[in-house]
Structures are given as C-alpha cells and as structure tokens.
Symmetry: C2
C-alpha cells in the first residue's frame, strides 16, 4: 500500500512537471474555472439572463441569441431582434467571454457589465429601456427581495442588473476540453491527426492572433491582411469606436473555444462551416491556400477545443404581479 502510494505520488509529480514544461512551451493555456464568484449574484444573474421580461416584447432574453443549449450563440448569421429585425452582426458566443480584452466585435464595451446593458436598450434587439426594465423588476416582490439580499440596497438599479448578469456570465467558462487535457499532460487526449492540425495551426501563423486561454479574444486585428475581405455587412469594426481610419475593419479576434458549436463564423456570419472559415482565414490573413488535407487536420484540431458546457438547472422565474407592466409584442 505504502509502495503503491509512493509510486502514484511520484507519477503525479512527474506528470505535473511534464505538464508544466508543456504549458510553458505552448501559446495556448488551459481554461481555468472562475475565481472568487459571488454565488448569490450568479443565481440572480442567471434568472435575469433567461428573463424575456427585460425586452419590450416579453419574448427575447439574453439566452435567445446567446443560447446556452447551443454554444452560447444563436447559430444564425445575424441575430433576430424585436419585431424580427435583422441584426447587423453575428452574435458572438457568451462562453468564455469573460476572458476577452473587451466586449462586442468592435470592443466598444470594456467588460461584461458594460456589455449587458446594451442589448436591453438597443431598439434593434430587446428594444426596451433601462428605466422600463427596472420598473418590471421592481414590481416583482421575489426579485426585489433577491436584489436586496445580494446588493443590500433599497432600490434596484441598472448597475445591479448588469453586474449580476456579468457575474453569471463569468461562470460560463468551458474547461476540460480534450485539447486542455493534452496541455495538462494527458498525451493520449489528442489523435495524431488532431496533433498534426495543431502543429499546422502554429506553424502557419494562426496562433499569432488565436492564443492565450481563450485562443483569441485578447486583441483587435484587421480582417483581411493579405487580401481584402468582402463582408456581407456594413460594419467598419474598431474604427467605429476609436474614430481612427487605421482601425477600419479591425475586429476583436474571436475565441476559438467551442468553435465547433458556434457556427456560422466571422462578424458577418458568412462562413457556414469550419472548413470554409479556415480556408478564408488562410487566404486573407496569411496568404496561404491550405490543401484539403491540411484544412481537415486544422478543423480536427479546432474540434478538440470544445470544453465542458455550462451545466445548471433551468432557472424558474418569479411571476409577474398585477402591478407588473405587461410586454407589448405587437403594435406600438
């Protein structure tokens, strides 16, 4: 028994040491679980994330377009907003979004809290206003109690709402992908094809932008370095935020975590499949035409980035009361 334990302990030390070396050499880091989370705030934020009463119609919640059953996206090129308005840009996944340098494709929100208020008041999305949303929440005693318990304040305000949603979103990380298992030392977690894909991903230069814990999300880069990208949309990217001409068509590099689930791809959702996306990226960013075999290997590697999806009970929302303003899905 003593011997077995010692042997096990030695094995563990060796594997941790190996993992340490492997990680030090790799440009991608494993996803870490979130630290110092306020659980009460998370539970409140989860309800708000699923509550369509934060929209004018009573039909659209955060989860409508960042659907946690579907990789935190809506899997359509651009989203559907109030009255079926067509959104201007592809909904980025909410998964691992806490790891991003900023929020939205153009980075106009500094963090998740700043992002969360956007869609609620955007006339093309949830089409509500912060004041009206607070009015709804204040009319529901169970919400009033829960906000008070979490924030210790007398009144609900939009800062509390967005802080709670952001706190929930911080829990939406996806550790334990096969690639991360490999990074952490489980050598048989990847097949030779997947490993070959990873080598190509590094050697071809993809990793210059897609690196770090989220395999992206940590810089703004021009879409169309070698060859102009013919976008399906009128967005100008980062320039809309900075006002600088040099930032035209600069977009936040999307995370590649769970990329198998977050189709279609690019800010205009124009790439239908992962193979198409890899082909286009090779061509316009790297001036490289991947062979069918290379493309398939890179795609095989990308599919190893799918991690454990968020796992939680469907939240039950507190009922409206007679005093709750009713949604207006039609008319007005």
């Amino acid at each position: 028994m003593g011997k077995i334990l010692t042997a096990f302990a030695l094995g563990l030390t060796a594997s941790v040491a190996m993992a340490g070396i492997a990680r030090a050499q790799e440009p991608i880091e494993p996803v870490r679980p979130p630290a110092s989370i306020n659980l009460g705030m998370v539970e409140l934020g989860k309800k708000l994330y699923f509550d369509p009463r934060l929209s004018k119609s009573g039909f659209i919640s955060c989860n409508s377009c960042h659907n946690l059953s579907m990789g935190g996206t809506d899997n359509i090129p651009t989203s559907i907003g109030d009255k079926w308005q067509q959104g201007p840009i592809n909904a980025p996944t909410v998964l691992n979004s806490s790891l991003s340098v900023a929020q939205f494709w153009d980075g106009r929100a500094a963090d998740l809290k700043a992002q969360a208020g956007g869609p609620i008041a955007n006339p093309g999305e949830m089409a509500f206003s912060h004041t009206l949303a607070i009015g709804v929440l204040e009319s529901i005693p169970a919400y009033v109690r829960e906000f008070k318990q979490v924030f210790k304040k007398d009144k609900i305000d939009i800062d509390q709402v967005t802080l709670a949603i952001a706190e929930f979103e911080k829990t939406l990380v996806t550790p334990n992908s096969r690639f991360d298992q490999w990074l952490l030392g489980r050598k048989d977690a990847l097949t030779p094809t997947e490993l070959a894909g990873y080598t190509l991903f590094k050697d071809s230069g993809c990793v210059a932008c897609h690196n770090g814990e989220a395999v992206g999300g940590n810089s703004f880069q021009k879409m169309g370095v070698v060859e102009a990208y013919k976008a399906n949309d009128p967005a100008t990217g980062r320039a809309a935020v900075t006002g600088k001409d040099a930032d035209r068509f600069n977009y936040k590099v999307p995370t590649l975590r769970n990329v198998e689930l977050t189709y279609p791809y690019f800010h205009d959702g124009a790439a239908r499949t992962l193979g198409e996306a890899v082909d286009t990226m090779g061509r316009i960013q790297l001036g490289k035409k991947f062979t069918a075999d290379e493309n398939a290997k890179i795609v095989a590697f990308l599919k190893t980035l799918t991690g454990d999806q968020p796992s939680f009970m469907l939240p039950i929302l507190p009922a409206s009361t007679d005093a709750t303003p009713r949604p207006t899905p039609f008319g007005k």
Copy 2:
C-alpha cells in the same frame, strides 16, 4: 424506539385515512407524479423541446412559447411565430397538459403526441415541415445515435420525434402545491382566507367545470353561458373540429394548476390579471358579480394551486454538422 415507531406508524395510518376521507369529499384531486416513464425517451424529448432547429428560422423551439421558466407559457396574449407573426390564440401552459382530455383550445389533437407535430409545420408558428425537420435531425450523428438507442429503428421519423416530445411533456406535472398538501391532510397548508376562497369556488359553481386532478382540462364548455363573451379573436372553438353549430365558442376548460404563473387568461389572452379573469368568469358563466372581497379570496385560493415547477438541467444540444441544412430566418 419500538414505541416511537409504532406511534409514528399509527399517526401515518390516521393521516392517510383522513386524507382519504378529505379526498373522497373534494372535487379536486392531488397531482400525481407520472407513472411508467421511458427515461431515455424523456431525455431525447427534452432536447427536441429546446431545439430551435425544428423551426424554419432556427430561432423558435417548443420552449419559446411554452417556456418552462415561466409556467410553461409565454405570458403574452397571443404568441409570436415565424417572422413575428401574431398567433391567433393564447398559448396554453404545457404544465400538466398530459392530464387534459385533448390538446389545443379546441381539442383538435387527441393527445400530446398528436399536438407536438402541429406547431413545427404551422406556417404561423415554427413554419417548418416534418420532412425538413427530420432532414435536420438525420444530419446530426449524436441525434441519430440517440434516436436509435431509444427507438431501435434505422431511420428517424416524425412519429418518433412527437412521441419523444410527448414523453418529456408527461414529466411536466406540478405536484406538491399547497392546495394538494391540504388535500393530503396538512391542515395548516392553507390560510383561512385561502380556505374561504376555496369554499366560494365550490359554492359559486366554478368547480362544476374546474375539477379533477388538473382543476380543469377534462371537458369542453361554452365560453359565455349567461352572457356572451366579447372575444378579441375570431376563433369559434370546438365547432372548428366538430362542424356542429352547437359547439360554437365551446373551448376546452383550461387547467387552473399554476394559474398564478400563466397570465394573461382566456383563449384570447384578454384578461390581464387573475382578478379580472375571476370577475369575467363569474359574470358570463355564472351570472354572478363577485364582491371585491370574494374575488380576492378566490384569487388567494387559486394561488395555492402553484405546484413544484419542473426541475432539470438545461439540455445541451448536439452540434449541427457541415451536412446540416441551415435555418433561413430572413428572406424566402
């Protein structure tokens, strides 16, 4: 120890006997958990229930209008369909719907399985077709495997899809409401006001239609017995199914289980609050004007019918593949 056990056993016998007496005298029965459920089929049906890829747009799932975070309804007068079409009728709650004599307000579907195929192919709702829905499912290997495991057949067909959704829906019963606790012998489960409301509910004649396990759902009755109901919609009720003039404005009596959560009320969703609904029902069905005090007591009783809401993990849907037909939310 022996003595305590005996005393406990006697107490139990007495309380079961009392409950038996109470139940025999009451026109409402406690909700029972479902018997003989196929768990594999339930898990598959739960995924399908949450999967918007069964709609043309890729945006609308069963859960969009029968939202299990919100009492199995959408809490708007009439539902939103493909391209934001306004539905003709209020979405009934899916909770306890397995206890209904038939499905839809006019009972045109004999059971949950027959109902489940309706919205998928309805141009005003999910706007898809059964053939297209099967095409999507057949293109997703994880679904193909799961259907095969559950149904032991080589091909997916619409019967399997609707059978699985119906099996999941059978689990959506809500036992353990305070009223059921009272029925089962816990005398302090209701307040004197709530009990007075129940007495009024019985003595005024509400219970003539709203009885049994679902407190409704077990018969078709005319909307507007004493006084015509001025509906907000063109529906003619049961006559649309039977073709009989006598069935005009006959509708399935809705369940009152969880009625606190399933606002707004009536087939046209015209009653905004429970108080309004009780007032209208008294007037047009019973020729009775409830006083404010009577109305409040009945409403207090009705709120005791809220049971344990379905509690399960948010399902994670299997990803589409390159071969999966993509949704067409805009155009065409």
